[in-house]
Symmetry: C2
Subunit: 323 residues, 2 copies
Amino acid sequence: MVSVQLISLLEPIRPQIERVEGLVDEKLAAVEEPLQTMLRRSVGGGKHLRPALIILIGQMFAVPLEPFHRLAAAVDMLHAATLIHDDLVDRSALRRGRETLHTIWPAGATVLAGDYLLGQATLLIAELEHPPVCKVFADVLCTMCAGEIRRMLSAQDAPERWQDYYRGIEAKTASLFAASAEMAAILAGAEASQRTALCCFARELGIAFQIVDDVLDLTGNEVLLGKPQGSDLRQGLLTLPILYYLESRANPNPVSTVLAGQRDEAQVRAAIEAVCASEAIEAALQEASNHVRCGQEALATLPDNESCRLLGSLAAYVVERER
Amino acid sequence: MVSVQLISLLEPIRPQIERVEGLVDEKLAAVEEPLQTMLRRSVGGGKHLRPALIILIGQMFAVPLEPFHRLAAAVDMLHAATLIHDDLVDRSALRRGRETLHTIWPAGATVLAGDYLLGQATLLIAELEHPPVCKVFADVLCTMCAGEIRRMLSAQDAPERWQDYYRGIEAKTASLFAASAEMAAILAGAEASQRTALCCFARELGIAFQIVDDVLDLTGNEVLLGKPQGSDLRQGLLTLPILYYLESRANPNPVSTVLAGQRDEAQVRAAIEAVCASEAIEAALQEASNHVRCGQEALATLPDNESCRLLGSLAAYVVERER
């Protein structure tokens, strides 16, 4: 039996989330060592938002949940695989308070461990025996990879940096939320209009989640973050609060100095404090709230039951979690 | 219209192979830059053995070939994706006479380009709308990754080095040949016994192909190889001719010296010459011939038509190609 840490909001679906983690655990238990140890470091944990989204959609349509467990496990594994590769690509040392795989194992083994997880995720999807679900799954993998490559290879001082930010969080986060909802809606036999509404809800939820994540990277507690404060800034990533800050300040300012390459600890700290003391944080959170509201409006067209209401609360939680 | 280089044996199925390459080309044409350029460097070329295997199985059962084109394109893309990651992992600078992707682009973009190709390959498989095929596809991806990780992380001086070699070529090459045949046999509606026979044939073909590749790495012309002679030896890889050589010689010898870390050019050349002048090359080729014969015997249970005979000739070619 797998015991998971859950936000209280998700307690009503604890057995379902535990079943998802149990499925992942079963798959990992069959993997030979040392690969199994590598994968166990990388899978699981987190806030279980994507599995919750999938399970709640299954419950909303009152269909048998077994395929939804499998789908959620596949999405968890796909997500973990992309994080393994992204952390390697970005040279991030910590994730959820733990050392990332590539800091412990050779880069090559890390690449292949991510590939293996992609294979296992694809196998779970294939076991659903539902080709349209498989298409959405493959498609979102392509979207996520293409988005990351675009981000890596695009010039940081491009004039379209706001647009780049939104395209980036769409590819990195919103696309997988939307695909999770779409696959669940297909499995649930939802009508086309309901599928669209669920995709729209999940996409807005994903955007809001990523914006709040980007805010927390600056305002959050390092212990809760599980990584150093200001990781994005240290990597030169332009997130929404940073963009709001830069828009309202003349150059040079503490943030532009860091982005220009001055990255000693005192300067990074000064930049973080400058953004946190500005109106940029509130502006970014307001924008996240707007996305949540749009998402909640999309839910209005769906079956009005407890699962649907829980989805709405989940969206609210995403923004409220640190306020 | 895509024009491909083919060995003369495959001329009868040129239109089919060109259709496969055309499908790959269509998929790539839709990819944004610079990713498209990256992928075009990596896909296509080679000897077209896997696509030929798939097409010939389709023809053998006289079924419509369109799904086989799609399957062959997917296998080509999967193969290219694994080569991108393997070349990065092994730090190989050349492949088929061209600089490998990671020598031109950042390692991170190279990882993600491989992931993207995996996604595109999965999408082609999903479009077949045939879940059993998708399962074999996902399964072989896992097998290949697990095999590579095992090879990377295993000690070179392990007592089981012969066994490690066979497990390695099974995971790296034979598994994808066998999976290609299995997927084609499923699509063709072959009976279980025919599926088994085709898998067996393809696995033996794959083993023979890899053994001959490992021999050519030592005996081949660098221009035809498209990479430096003795690449495996330079990387410290124990291939079959090297194992035969080491088995018959006392230590130290020119090869053991290189494997112990003495890798200047003169020593590598001396080691290559020593193996080439020994009986190890013939012993390895003889072993490849044995695998081809086993594979050809498996064909005896299949429909005796032109496609089946062409498969048999293809197997013979694999060993004869450089003799």
